[in-house]
């Protein structure tokens, strides 16, 4: 991808024995990119790798063409709003942001002024002089965001930035993300709810159990998800009869008889059509089934989970 400032090249990360992410190839360009996946799928791991807080066990991560771990100069161009809901002891919102702006080399006066600008962007001015420890969850989320964007970085990495916010605040922040993207920034955000970000993201990266399962704009992702072949295990007394009934339909990709003679494995591209067909065959008495079980329902399950109950939005 041209203009991609973030590249993952065959990156795996293990925490001891535990898989964080596996063999990720990814390039992230300007605009808004959403990393979407259930809890524990590896979103935060990818973001920590991008920002050098973690190092890959295998492969290479580059931002601006450099490995982020051990390249501190990059951080004038990167802002990261991490998942941790924690702050240095005893600071007010404004001190919190100004203190770290000083570490970017700003004078105290510049830092104070910039801190206020950033706080204003997340609409938190009235609380700027209050201790962060006294903030509500939503305010803490926003002050973290302000801290990440205070030094005006080219790349903004935001881990679940909409978490814990009311709908009003969400709408405002989404507007802010759009502004940043329109100004040419790379905005990478994560969420475990697809329809929370699908309206705002230019690109969606679906992650599940450490694997990138699909990537692209929303229609592309949908196609990839829907077209992902699904395997279904049928148990019945007469597998060859069932096989011959199924074969006639072109959405069936493959049928394999099970070794024990008591079942068969079916591979299809269209789950819905397949289940309709199965209903027809059973209710018209042409076949007799003991059990139906998706053998590999990962993809669909994740998809359904992510889209939530009202799956129609995708």
């Amino acid at each position: 991808m041209s203009g991609a400032l973030i590249r993952f090249d065959d990156v795996s990360k293990f925490y001891g024995e535990v898989l964080g992410v596996n063999r990720v190839d990814l390039q992230i360009g300007p605009g808004i990119t959403a990393l979407v996946g259930p809890n524990g799928s590896g979103k935060s791991t990818l973001m920590n790798l991008m920002t050098g807080l973690l190092e890959p066990s295998q492969g290479r991560v580059e931002i601006f063409g450099k490995a982020p771990h051990g390249a501190p100069e990059l951080f004038d161009q990167v802002g990261y709003c991490a998942q941790f809901d924690s702050f240095p002891r005893g600071v007010t919102g404004r001190q919190f942001i100004a203190a770290y702006l000083r570490l970017h080399g700003l004078s105290q006066r510049e830092a104070d002024a910039r801190a206020l600008q950033a706080i204003e962007r997340v609409d938190l001015l009235p609380a700027a002089g209050k201790k962060v420890a006294a903030y509500s969850k939503g305010m803490r989320q926003r002050i973290k965001l302000a801290q990440a964007l205070a030094h005006d970085p080219q790349i903004l990495v935001l881990d679940e930035p909409l978490n814990g916010l009311d709908p009003m605040a969400r709408a405002e922040l989404i507007e802010l993300f759009r502004e940043l993207a329109a100004a040419g920034r790379h905005v990478i955000l994560s969420s475990h709810i697809l329809h929370e970000v699908d309206v705002v993201a230019d690109e969606v990266v679906l992650i599940h159990q450490g694997y990138v399962m699909a990537k692209g704009d929303i229609p592309e992702v949908r196609e990839e998800m829907v077209d992902h072949p699904l395997e279904i295990l049928l148990r019945c007394a007469t597998p060859s009869l069932v096989a011959s009934e199924l074969f006639a339909h072109d959405h069936i990709l493959e049928v394999r008889l099970h070794e024990d003679g008591g079942g068969l494995m079916v591979k299809t591209r269209q789950a819905d059509s397949f289940y309709l067909l199965l209903n027809d065959l059973v209710s018209s008495g042409r076949i007799d089934l003991e059990a139906v079980a998706p053998a590999d329902d990962d993809v669909m399950a994740v998809y359904r989970y992510l889209v939530g109950s009202e799956g129609g939005t995708l």
């Binding site: 807080l53 771990h69 951080f75 002891r89 005893g90 203190a99 570490l103 080399g105 700003l106």
Partner: protein
């Protein structure tokens, strides 16, 4: 100011703000004022009930008091509070990532924090050591502060406190950076500081008291188990303490430079 020095000043200011959160400040000031209060009470008692026995004996009592209460009490726990509160404190509070995500090389973060911690410890404990010795002079009565011997002794105690802060600081910075739960090490180390004269030579090198004792402005009797040996010259002891400090800070820098962020406790 160059950008680098501005950044280091930034690290220090942030560190002071963290260190001087209300509850901690109270504890640190309480520690620093401890020996001053003891000496003030002693001076008051002298004023009230008359002077204690001979001056040279009294000066050794202060010397022992300094090794016991000031070094093993105030400096030990004061530096444990300040320097375990640095990187270990940031890890425990999950605020370390904010610093790691700034354009400051990690070694500079560690050094900046350490220097800020040392300056704070000096402001508290070197001042308190000098003050205690000065007030002690009221108990002794003669000679007055104008006496060069008295001034030299006072400076000697302050220098010992300064060196103690450097070495304890480096020790606790390193321990807090290398270990997740340094509590038991602190307990063992505390014990070690009290029985350092019993330790085999190798372990003695770890004890800050072991070095500081030999720098005492007044000769101290070594206790029943001590091996009699020629005292090392001061310059040699001071360089050993500085090497001790460099090793501690170096270990912390090494660990932080290669470590991944890990907040599990």
């Amino acid at each position: 100011m160059s950008a680098t020095s501005r950044r280091l000043m930034g690290v220090a200011r942030l560190e002071w703000r963290r260190q001087l959160a209300p509850g901690r400040t109270l504890w640190l000031v309480f520690l620093a004022m401890g020996p001053v209060a003891v000496m003030a009470i002693m001076a008051w008692m002298t004023h009230k009930f008359g002077p204690p026995p001979g001056t040279s004996e009294m000066r050794e009592i202060f010397g022992q008091f300094f090794q016991g209460m000031v070094v093993r009490g105030v400096l030990f726990f004061g530096c444990a509070t300040i320097f375990l509160g640095q990187i270990r404190g940031e890890l425990d509070q999950r605020s370390w990532h904010y610093s790691l995500l700034t354009p400051i090389p990690r070694w500079q973060l560690v050094i900046g924090k350490y220097i800020a911690g040392v300056l704070l410890a000096w402001a508290l404990f070197v001042v308190s050591s000098g003050l205690s010795r000065a007030i002690f002079q009221l108990t002794l009565g003669t000679p007055g502060f104008a006496d060069p011997g008295v001034q030299k002794e006072l400076l000697g105690y302050m220098a010992m406190a300064a060196l103690g802060c450097l070495a304890y600081g480096a020790f606790f910075l390193a321990v807090g950076t290398l270990l997740r739960g340094p509590g038991y090490i602190v307990a063992v180390y505390f014990l070690l500081e009290w029985i350092q004269f019993l330790l085999p030579p190798g372990l003695k090198q770890l004890s800050v008291v072991h070095y500081l004792r030999t720098l005492s402005p007044v000769p101290l009797s070594e206790g029943p188990f001590a091996l009699l040996a020629e005292p090392s010259p001061a310059w040699w002891v001071v360089s050993q303490l500085l090497i001790y400090t460099l090793v501690g800070v170096g270990l912390a820098v090494w660990k932080v430079s290669r470590a991944e962020l890990d907040y599990r406790s």
